[in-house]
């Protein structure tokens, strides 16, 4: 005769209980459950993450190298052309820059673009693809604080420090749904809010209809609010359209770097531009 189990002894009941508990946690989001564990895991995993992520980057670069061999010739020709063009542009800007510095001295203005930078390596990434954050190998021990801007390639803003642990930090990328900063076009004709579009892109939103907004305009930080230095490059505008309520203009922003390929970043610890 088959032995009948009580309902409370069945797998189904156990699954229901666990699902109920997790469902309640998901609904009420009691952060005190995981918050202590979070700091402990960050401290324990920090040294290992550095090694594992370096390995990941090396393997990815090797894959990328073999898959792009066919494109190398075309790429090389394009880069040579770019090199010639940029060299001529550079010589022009050098003279303008010298002139600008001289004029700033004469007018008694502070020197521009004086950032106190700290380099960091990316050691972790969001598993979901929608959350859009990265983990770096610098933390409270390196004087990193919440809200510090993170840049690459000199002046390209990629995000801000959202959480700081002892030897690592979490960076909220500009494409994060909760990321919001104040932006302005380099022409100074349009000002608005730069926010993440569900981890997939960046949107320049809340731009007044009277402002002039064109595809191809370059977008930088406005420096309003004092949290971020001004003139950090965010991206180039593409596809201008009206908001759903037709009150404002908005445009998709194409960042100059691919966030999923970031390996090294710089944290602005202090800036003369604030």
């Amino acid at each position: 005769m088959a032995l009948r189990r009580k309902f409370t002894q069945t797998k189904f009941f156990r699954a229901l209980v666990v699902l109920g508990l997790l469902g309640a946690c998901l609904f009420f989001q009691p952060r005190f459950i995981l918050e202590p564990l979070r700091s402990v895991i960050a401290v324990i995993s920090s040294p290992v993450e550095g090694i594992v992520s370096a390995l990941g980057f090396e393997v990815r670069d090797a894959f990328h190298f073999f898959s792009s061999i066919g494109e190398l010739k075309t790429e090389n020709e394009r880069l040579q052309k770019d090199n010639i063009r940029l060299s001529s542009e550079n010589s022009k800007w050098e003279s303008v820059s010298g002139e600008n510095e001289e004029l700033r001295k004469q007018l008694g203005l502070l020197p521009q673009q004086k950032h106190d930078l700290l380099s960091a390596e990316v050691v972790g990434r969001d598993a979901s693809g929608i959350g859009n954050w990265i983990t770096i190998n610098r933390g409270a021990l390196d004087d990193i604080r919440q809200g510090m801007p993170v840049i690459v390639n000199g002046e390209v803003l990629v995000g801000r420090v959202s959480e700081v642990f002892a030897s690592s930090s979490r960076i909220m990328l500009l494409s994060h749904p909760e990321s919001q900063i104040s932006g302005i076009t380099t022409t100074g004709e349009a000002q608005g809010i730069v926010r993440g579009e569900h981890g997939l892109g960046i949107l320049f939103d809340m731009v007044l209809q009277a402002d002039s907004l064109r595809a191809g305009d370059r977008l930088v930080t406005s420096g309003l609010g004092g949290e971020l230095p001004k003139n950090l490059f965010v991206g180039t505008l593409q596809e201008v359209r009206l908001s759903d309520d037709h009150l404002y203009q908005r445009a998709s922003v194409v960042p100059p770097v691919r966030y999923e390929s970031l390996r090294y970043v710089f944290i602005i610890k202090n800036s003369a531009e604030k």
Binding site: R14, L26, S45, R60, F63, I130
Partner: protein, 204 residues
């Protein structure tokens, strides 16, 4: 002479007592393995392949643990594993924990009905099942909140479905990863079993 030997029945909840020396060792090994999985997921696989939009390694591990240990015992590993991921990533309990428990139950349900040994063709079948369940995770995620109820409506209305090339790649990747994780975890669990039995049998 009667030998007092504590046997471990499959599908029965048997947690090796932590108070004993080997119990502590088992606990430490399991926690270490879970942390390694979480670190590998966030710092290796997500850097190497940033597209899948799913914690592929952890979902594969959940299926394998359920096949190797049975549902009740795997539950003791599934929940901490996903909570480790949540604490290392979002900082709050997320949808992945809920899905992992459902996946473990589904795997157990399937393994009971198919009644086949986990070798050869059946391994391929389970790899296919794992890949399908990861596809289901990718499909459901845009409609389910990750971090808050407030985000539910926002995510459901505008979070996009991953492209078919990403889905296809994830499918192949999961199929490839499954046998690898299966053999690693099978050996690991055999080792754990050996450590636990060693104490009861007093092996020197």
């Amino acid at each position: 002479m009667s030998l007092s030997l504590k046997t471990v029945q499959k599908n029965e909840v048997e947690v090796y007592p932590i108070k004993t020396k080997s119990g502590m060792k088992v606990f430490f090994l399991r926690v270490s393995l879970m942390l390694i999985f979480v670190i590998l997921q966030l710092s290796f696989f997500d850097i190497l392949f940033p597209w899948p939009q799913a914690p592929v390694l952890l979902l594969v591990a959940v299926v394998v643990w359920t096949l190797v240990l049975g549902f009740p015992r795997s539950l003791y590993l599934t929940v901490p594993l996903t909570l480790f991921l949540d604490s290392a990533s979002y900082g709050a309990v997320s949808w992945v924990s809920l899905y992992a428990v459902l996946l473990a139950y589904g795997t157990s349900f399937l393994s009971r009905r198919l009644l086949i040994e986990h070798r050869g063709l059946s391994l391929a079948l389970y790899a296919f099942f794992t890949a399908a369940s990861i596809f289901a995770y990718q499909s459901l995620t845009p409609f389910v909140s990750r971090s808050s109820i407030g985000a539910l409506v926002k995510d459901a209305t505008s979070s996009p479905f991953p492209s078919w090339s990403i889905v296809f790649f994830t499918f192949l990747f999961s199929c490839f990863l499954f046998p690898l994780v299966y053999f690693i975890l099978k050996r690991f669990e055999n080792h754990i079993e050996f450590i636990a039995q060693k104490q009861f049998l007093n092996v020197r």
